[in-house]
């Protein structure tokens, strides 16, 4: 296991030049996540047009894995419908599930690339279990933001 399998160029690039940074005026959904153990922090805001996410804005600080995961996630969900986003979330979670075997986890490279884009670069994190939490932070925050929106719709 070489360290370059974890820190792939695409991860370092997203860490250095994070996409969709900033805030939105009156976002339709938002959530904040943090990882008390390492101090990673993330704030996520979404603009929706119907059931399509049209804008994503992220603020936060943390390690390269948490920040690049958030940046890549923002690209992967922008412009997608909520249903499409659920599929991305499910695929990403399966990729990060170290209990599952690679085939169960859906680690078919063609499929991963098609659904996750750059995010497939994070599969190296599977070999570094203590860092999986870092990779997941953006995703648990996204789920929370989506839940908060659903809650608003209900009320």
């Amino acid at each position: 296991m070489s360290i370059e399998e974890l820190y792939r160029d695409v991860i370092l690039d997203h860490n250095r030049n994070p996409r969709n940074r900033g805030t939105l005026d009156h976002p339709d959904a938002h959530a904040e996540g943090n990882n008390p153990l390492c101090g990673d922090e993330l704030s996520l805001e979404l603009r929706l047009d119907g059931d399509r996410v049209t804008e994503v804005a992220i603020q936060g600080q943390g390690c390269s894995i948490s920040q690049s995961s958030a940046s890549m996630m923002s690209q992967a969900i922008k412009g997608k419908t909520l249903e499409e986003i659920e599929a991305v979330i499910a695929t990403f979670k399966a990729m990060m599930d170290i209990q599952a075997s690679p085939s169960q986890a859906g680690l078919d490279p063609d499929r991963l690339g098609a659904v996750l884009g750059d995010l497939e670069a994070l599969q190296g994190v599977r070999k570094f279990p203590v860092r999986i939490k870092c990779a997941n932070l953006a995703w648990t925050t996204l789920e929370e933001a989506l839940r908060s929106r659903k809650g608003e719709v209900k009320s």
């Binding site: 360290i3 390492c38 101090g39 922090e41």
Partner: protein, 409 residues
């Protein structure tokens, strides 16, 4: 340079390979490794004379009790306590601090009173006082840090008013390595009539401690940071404090008599040791104390200073390294926190781990301090008797590797 090369052989875990490389253990401030001399003593208790203490009228219990109380005596001698009854065995420094915060604080603090802590405290010396402040209405005040990572004692006369009833502070920061002038601060606080406590969880394994010279009313420490096992530590208290303080926990072994309406307490220190204590751990701590005394705490201090000086020099070869801590080796111990360019400490720690080097990354359970440093987290290396210059050299090579991966100039 003190010769500590023989010391390494006493620590079996240091023979391990990590990711195919020899272990370089630089996280002893979190918890230290244990020498064979401690492991063997603990093993022998279980194998040859284990029984509950202070209870049985049979030989094994007598032997266990004697070893347990002897361990108390060793700890008392190690910190130069007036007598062994001034040493209460606890689960660790955290429990010791909670014991005083609740056992003394609940009876002596009320609205309008102040509890003085410092910006350098470990959460163990912050959160218990916050809990007690919430229940009593007392306020918390914090002594700030100056630009050289020292406690700003010039602020003391101003902050130490007659409302300050207790001052509790660290003897050595677990983040910056800073060793504040304990006796000087304690004297000023005592002159103001405050109860004074020192968290020596780090200091106790980096420098000789003489509680009779610290001018404090209580000190708290943990065994596992000083080559002993987990689950054991201690509270040293002035006899008058221990006498007047209420027990923090009730249960077996801490009573003199139990009636249905109430009970009377066993004499100090037993009134603070409810339930079956960590017997084997206490005896193991005694063995750790023997081990440190054999090396000599003056030598331990010299070794730590030499290694820290060497490490600070070597780290200064890397322009991207920024150290958060005093440069003056007489005012600090063997704990060094730093940043490496803008690489996040967790990424540094992961890459170092691949090189077999164990360091800590994070806020080190001292969030107010890391916040004051202006960073979300730091990388921390810390030294023990088993560390050598080779470990520091390996660290520098490891950090160069981090710079390669993250393309730090």
């Amino acid at each position: 340079m003190t010769d500590f090369s023989h010391v390494r052989q006493d620590f079996p875990v240091l023979k391990r390979q990590i990711h195919g490389r020899p272990l370089v253990f630089l996280d002893s401030a979190a918890s230290s490794q244990k020498p064979t001399q401690v492991l063997d003593v603990m093993d022998a208790v279980y194998r040859t004379y284990y029984a509950n203490v202070h209870r049985g009228a049979y030989l094994l219990s007598e032997e266990s009790t004697t070893a347990y109380e002897d361990a108390r005596g060793k700890v008392a001698r190690f910190i130069n306590a007036g007598s062994r009854s001034e040493v209460v065995f606890t689960r660790g420094a955290t429990t010791a601090l909670n014991m005083v915060a609740f056992g003394w604080g609940m009876d002596h603090l009320s609205a309008g009173d102040k509890i003085m802590l410092t910006m350098m405290e470990h959460h163990a010396n912050v959160v218990p006082w916050q809990l007690v402040a919430r229940r009593t209405g007392a306020e918390l005040v914090y002594l700030p840090m100056d630009a050289d990572y020292q406690l700003d004692i010039s602020r003391l006369p101003d902050l130490l008013d007659e409302r300050v009833k207790v001052v509790s502070f660290t003897g050595m920061s677990n983040v910056t390595g800073t060793m504040p002038p304990v006796a000087e601060i304690a004297r000023m606080a005592r002159d103001q009539g405050a109860l004074v406590g020192v968290d020596v969880a780090q200091l106790i394994t980096h420098a000789p401690i003489d509680v009779q010279k610290l001018e404090a009313d209580f000190v708290a420490f943990s065994g596992h940071k000083m080559l002993g096992p987990t689950g054991i530590g201690g509270l040293w208290g002035r006899p008058s404090l221990l006498e007047e303080m209420e027990p923090f926990e009730g249960g077996g072994e801490m009573i003199s008599d139990v009636q249905l309406e109430g009970s009377t307490w066993a004499p100090v220190p037993h009134k603070f040791e409810a339930g079956t204590p960590p017997i084997v751990e206490a005896i193991g701590l005694g063995a750790a104390v023997d081990y440190l005394e054999k090396i000599g705490m003056e030598s331990v201090r010299r070794h730590g200073q030499e290694l820290t000086g060497y490490a600070l020099n070597r780290l200064s070869e890397l322009p991207a390294v920024r150290v958060f801590g005093p440069a003056d080796l007489t005012a600090r111990g063997g704990v060094i926190s730093f940043a490496l360019g803008d690489v996040h400490p967790h990424d540094v720690a992961t890459i170092l781990d691949q090189e077999g080097i164990a360091v800590r990354a994070g806020h080190h359970c001292a969030k107010p301090l890391t916040r004051a440093l202006g960073v979300p987290a730091t990388v921390r290396v810390s030294f023990q008797v088993y560390n050598t210059r080779d470990d520091v050299d390996a660290l520098v090579v490891g950090l160069q590797r981090v710079q390669e991966v993250f393309r730090v100039d």
